[in-house]
Subunit: 112 residues, 2 copies
Amino acid sequence: MSGQALKGHLDLLLLAVLSDGAKHGYAVIDELRTRSDEVFDLPEGSVYVALHRLEAAGFLVSEWSEVQGRRRRTYRLTEVGRNALSEQSRAWSEFSAAVFSVLKGVPWPTTP
Amino acid sequence: MSGQALKGHLDLLLLAVLSDGAKHGYAVIDELRTRSDEVFDLPEGSVYVALHRLEAAGFLVSEWSEVQGRRRRTYRLTEVGRNALSEQSRAWSEFSAAVFSVLKGVPWPTTP
DNA sequence: TCTTGACACTTAGCATTTTTAAGTATTAAA
DNA sequence: TTTAATACTTAAAAATGCTAAGTGTCAAGA
């Protein structure tokens, strides 16, 4: 997983991992890694910035807390965010189906 | 299809449509649209620039010709390009599988 | 004949992210 | 006491598709 394949799909992933319960940022990173079988091992900078963006968009709300001397910002999906997840999930289905459809025409494999 | 879902995946699509024969840019746009069932209806600016980029990367070579008074630049996949297609296709499989894997945890549908 | 639309290509600048990289701070383990 | 894991932040850089405007040909229709 390199390059910027994620571009435009990160929001979907974040909303998805938050859809089954509120989590703080670090936990989101963790769950994204485990749920994707280590494929999505995202840098903190990417995720935190995206979470801020999603909150600014009204998809999430956050709340500060302190657990064992460490401050945490826990994010929870809003109703608007849940609708966005639904729509973005639909968009992903369409997108991925279209990519696979284009790839169908590719002669595989080319190697001997 | 909106936003920048394509970001990072356009190269794969272009290499794919060129893998079964050389085509000129306009024809690439056309075939991308039909093969994707109208999902990928890309602006010319996006595609031509990407084709230039792929040629600069050594994935394609182009050749000018004139057909009925109209000049055409026809692109053909190189060996390097074919390898890139192979690798990017593999990367797409991994990527899409990972996304689906993350989405699997999403409670569906949320609507009554 | 004039206009419109399809064909065909180009370019510059814009916008949107993700990544990089650096920084702050606490706690637990080695 | 040093390191690794936890936890969050931010500024700047990089990537890359989109917008918008331009050039030119050809065929069809008003």
